[in-house]
Amino acid sequence: MNDQELVDRVRPALGELFPEPADVALSLPARPPANPRRRASVLLVVACMLALAAGIAALRWHSSAAIGDHPPAGVTGRSHALPTPKIVDHRLAAPFSLSDGQLQLSPPPAGVRPVVSAADALAIVRGQHDLPKGRPSSVFLASLTSYARSTTIDPSTAALVPDTTREPVWAVLTAGVRVIAFGVGVIPRSGAPDAEESPAPLRYGREDQLVMLDATTGAVISGIWQTMPDRQPSTVAQTPDPGVKTQSHSGP
């Protein structure tokens, strides 16, 4: 029996099974209907209040002390920014990794006390990296394990041996640092004077920057940055891996 024959049987049977009742007396609701205009105005007021609260929170954040105990707002506001660390009392509370696991940060051992203070760590980073003074940074203590330069494999476990295992380290996280975007240089045409070539205009981008220091000696161990996608210059976007890049590996 095909579908149409089935349907021809179903239709009248359904009509017989469920005839429209004539003895129905539903009651009318007592309350008045909602006024869509009033509802829209209430939603508008709520949205305005939320926007105002967000603005106040942002102002407070930017006017707060340079050493923050919480991640800067820029870190959490972008989907491709550096991961947001969980920080409690200037200490990393939950482990996280960067650069596909090459750098791993974990909470420092309980009771460990850094020789270098958080303020000194921030001063070192600001001195070396010329961070803008108005930009808030988050400074937190952590343990660092790095596989970025590791080439040794443990034969017993067949696992990569970390090249650096250090604790404690200070991590200084700064969001939205304005930097010059390096583009492709202008090559003069053959035979044409250089003066006729207009120089490439400077372009700027923004980065999240994370710098790690040895909390005992104050030496910079490594730095990591991530270009923000909303300000990413085209020349950077065309690179094969525009994600997290290791900036430097100085120090002992």
Partner: protein
């Protein structure tokens, strides 16, 4: 306000029978169908100004009652099917669509359908809605309506074949 309530009252007078019928068909229980229709009216009245301003409120009422039926069925406040005191009148013939069999067969088939398939069957074959209108009431794609319809009809076909197959003598009502 007076105009809105008058229009709503007129709508209720015109459509309450159809609302109850839809709730009844979706749940299999007349009383539950009335409860559904009443709940649908309450919800419709809450948005009456906007819904009536947008056009015919009947499709919106249908959407409400389909949604409510699905919700109530999930909550299992009541069973969708009420046990029958009288046994269905099976015939002894092997034609699954003998007149005496059809209603019992359809009732059993509907009772065994998932909520979505049942809603598709009710909207398309009891209320004669098109595929597009059925998709609109169920807030799904036309492809979903077609596939749910096909599944429901396949289940009916299987039910009919199972019913028509020779059964043990003691299992049949003579």
């Amino acid at each position: 306000m007076a105009k809105a309530s008058d229009a709503f009252e007129a709508f209720v007078q015109a459509r309450q029978g159809a609302l109850v019928r839809m709730g009844w068909a979706l749940t299999g229980d007349r009383q539950l169908g009335e409860d559904l229709a009443q709940a649908a009216l309450d919800r419709l009245w809450g948005r009456w100004t906007a819904v009536s301003a947008a056009g015919d409120p009947w499709p919106y009422a249908q959407r409400i009652i389909v949604s409510l039926a699905s919700t109530w069925r999930r909550r299992r406040w009541r069973t969708a099917e009420v046990p029958r005191g009288d046994l269905p009148d099976y015939s002894s013939g092997h034609d699954e669509f003998d007149a005496a069999d059809v209603r019992a067969l359809i009732a059993g088939w509907l009772a065994g359908l998932p909520a979505r398939q049942r809603a598709v069957v009710v909207l398309r074959y009891l209320f004669d809605l098109s595929i597009d209108d059925t998709a609109d009431r169920l807030r799904c794609s036309t492809g979903t309506v077609k596939s749910q319809t096909a599944k429901a009809l396949n289940r009916l076909r299987a039910t009919a074949e199972a019913t028509s197959s020779p059964a043990p003598t003691e299992g049949r009502l003579q």
